[in-house]
Symmetry: C2
Subunit: 459 residues, 2 copies
């Protein structure tokens, strides 16, 4: 085997160790052979050409903020990290699009386009640390999805390097286009298993008004869920509609006193960026909340106060980090089953004797139940985590609303998809990556295809 012909390569064990994992807890990661910190398209091309010729698995990485182990190292792999490809190449105000390299941080892009009076809506919870390339790889969501859609809804075009190093352009700069298969959407959410994204063209929107917000307190999560249904059933599309259950409130309260009334069972936070219509939207939300037995509703008078009301929701991630370990789930169910989901999660917590805090994007039916535990409880935590996914499927939902499958949920994907859909996945994977070098064993089990180039076991 010739050595990797890319200058930006390191095999320093300390550096390799630092790049071995993303943020998925308890996901195995292997020992990589080398790390390429690509600084040009050419670096990506040469790495893939070399890997293809030498049958070496490649794990594409961005900011490694993923929660599914999709960027974890495989034994003997090359980690192909694109975080240094971080230029904003173009912000085209007239066409309302931006062209960026994959390493650009989500919040950096959002701020850059905001300066030009434009808006990039996809806002995953990780927006300050996750990169656009990673957002594309997982089709990341966020709080604004309810009104604006997910990452994929904003991706117009991609530049992708295929497994053998060939460079491909998908999509277009125009608002519409149906010339050929929608390769753009096929690559969005494919988690580095079909190619490595090296450039992303995103659609932008005109800047929205600074949001107003309202918070409603309930005795039970069931009441909060009924309020969600009532408000959305009234034809409203708030810019966010977030739920925190009692356990989440408890976790956050340990970090900061939010001044919530004592004994709160659930909180709903609605946000409206509808400008002059925002007060009307929030009044309607208040009406729905009170109709569904809200014990108190606070409506912001101005954007600064709205910001304060959102504070509790934003602290959730930090609050969870206070626990020794966590497993964050990502089930999404039809909205009418939201209360059943949240109640079922409480039952699962009791059954496995673990602490589960549930919050998430109630308007989309997408919840993030987090099993918070210490290491002695690891087995029960994993069982509870799995039970939540099964509950999501039983309620007609999906195992992952926005975090992706990666390694963490790979074996669960086979429960969600039917046999023909699994077959289609494997056919597409083999068609575009015939040697099976691209992030093998992630999303689907490529061993089942009989073409896996490498040993998937990792330490």
């Amino acid at each position: 085997m010739t050595s990797l012909p890319v200058q930006a390569t390191t095999d320093d064990p300390a550096v390799l160790a630092a790049y071995r994992t993303d943020r998925a807890s308890f996901c195995p990661s292997g020992t990589p052979k080398a790390l390429v910190r690509a600084r040009s398209l050419q670096d990506v091309v040469q790495t893939l050409q070399w890997a293809s010729e030498n049958n070496v698995p490649v794990v594409p990485q961005g900011a490694r903020t993923g929660l599914s182990g999709g960027a974890n190292a495989l034994d003997g792999c090359v980690l192909l990290n694109v975080e240094k490809l971080d230029r904003i190449l173009d912000i085209d105000v007239e066409e309302q699009i931006a062209v960026v390299e994959p390493g650009v941080i989500n919040a950096t892009l959002a701020a850059a386009v905001a300066e030009k009076g434009l808006y990039y809506p996809p806002d995953p919870g990780s927006k300050d640390i996750s990169s656009i390339g990673g957002n594309v790889a997982t089709n990341a969501g966020g709080m604004c999805c309810l009104k604006y859609g997910v990452t994929g809804d904003f991706v117009r075009a991609l530049q992708v390097v295929l497994a053998d190093g060939r460079v491909m352009r998908t999509g277009r700069r125009t608002a519409k286009g149906v010339a050929g298969y929608d390769l753009t959407r096929l690559f969005v959410g494919s988690e580095g298993t079909l190619g490595v994204v090296t450039e992303v063209t995103v659609a932008l929107r005109p800047a929205a008004a600074r949001p107003l917000a309202a918070v409603a307190f309930f005795d039970t999560t069931a009441d909060a869920c009924r309020a969600v249904a009532d408000h959305l059933g009234g034809g409203f599309r708030p810019a966010a509609l977030e739920l925190m259950d009692a356990a989440t409130i408890e976790a956050v309260a340990k970090l900061q006193d939010l001044g919530f009334p004592p004994g709160v069972g659930a909180v709903l936070i609605a946000q409206s960026d509808a400008g002059t219509k925002a007060p009307e939207e929030l009044a309607a939300f208040e009406l729905s909340a009170r109709k569904c037995a809200a014990t108190e509703v606070i409506v912001s008078e101005d954007p600064a106060e709205a910001d304060l009301l959102m504070q509790g929701r934003r602290l959730v991630g930090l609050a969870f980090e206070e626990y020794p370990a966590s497993l964050v789930d990502d089930v999404c169910v039809p909205r009418r089953h939201l209360a059943e989901l949240v109640d079922g999660i409480e039952r699962i917590a009791k059954q496995y004797d673990v602490f589960i805090a549930t919050c998430g994007h109630a308007g989309d039916g997408n919840m993030h139940p987090a099993v918070l535990f210490d290491h002695a409880q690891a087995e029960a935590a994993q069982q509870a985590f799995d039970a939540v996914m099964q509950l999501g499927l039983d309620l007609g939902g999906t195992i992952t609303g926005e975090h992706g499958v990666g390694l963490l949920k790979r074996d669960w994907l086979a429960r969600e998809l039917d046999e023909a859909a699994l077959w289609s996945h494997q056919q597409i994977k083999n068609a575009l990556d015939p040697r099976g070098i691209l992030n093998p064993g992630r999303v689907i089990d490529s061993r089942a295809t009989g073409r896996a180039a490498v040993d998937q076991r990792s330490s």
Copy 2:
């Protein structure tokens, strides 16, 4: 070869002749072997199983209102028509989704959901005659795309029968989901080359307000295009923003006196369904129009008057039918090049001495230049049609914004896509339809893959 085991089969030559073509002019169509008018999922499954076993090409058909020859017969093929699969299976008000069979007419679905206070936005010009299955097959657009998106943006899930007769479900009923590759979006717009859609789950929106409208008259199309840029640059997203050039106005005027001022060079029609904010939106449109030298602007006082203002735009299709023959193009360019596109089309009309009427979705940069001619001019018309597509590509656009590739533009697709993207198309086609029986020769030239099961030549 065993005979087709499906009861709903006919080989009556008169019936076969009637089903040989869609609405693409001058697209070759072959002589089919049989027509299956499927009345059940089982009919589709058995037809594909049989065709797969006997290596017979299958051309899926819906309402046959396509404009690209994608549903035209191939010699010796089975026409698999799903227009009789036309049940609305479910309208779920709470989840804001509907589940329909592919033969349901677009306008029928729109009316059914409107009765329940919901809205299905995709509104291709053919909405009264085209089916949801066909809309999905081509990823159809329409006037409302500017604000709401195209068909694919509303498809949540599909039931698809694969080439070998296996039934597959893609997507989900939930608002979000990233479990596996986005097979739904891969099949949307694949024009019957990857599978036959037998059920579609679409997302709905709350009903919008009845629209108001405004019409602005200009001396030149360039002025009208500048007004489009100015209005959208102001951060507005009208529910439609349509352009008609002088030739289109002339064609429509032959059909009905619209009371337009004499000598009009171009017309822009803006529609707003923003309810109480609609007058404000239309006032902003008027301001943009006047700033860009509009000679007159009429703003509707009420929805009934708005309906009258839209009348001219709606008559375009009918007006074109008055000509002996037509070739309707579908280029989409970055908005800043809209004026260059329209001016270039005028030059092409002069160069080839044909009459080209241009109208379309100006807000999206998606124009439908129609070459209107009598049969003696067929060659010049085809050359002009091709020159328009080349112009669209030269301006950074696409050969098809919403009509699809079909047969008509298949050879042009190779000019739009790069080599790696064409390879990816062929790999995906071969992966999902290994025998090459599904609508072979449409979208991509499967002969180039070396796996074509049939002779593509058709009479």
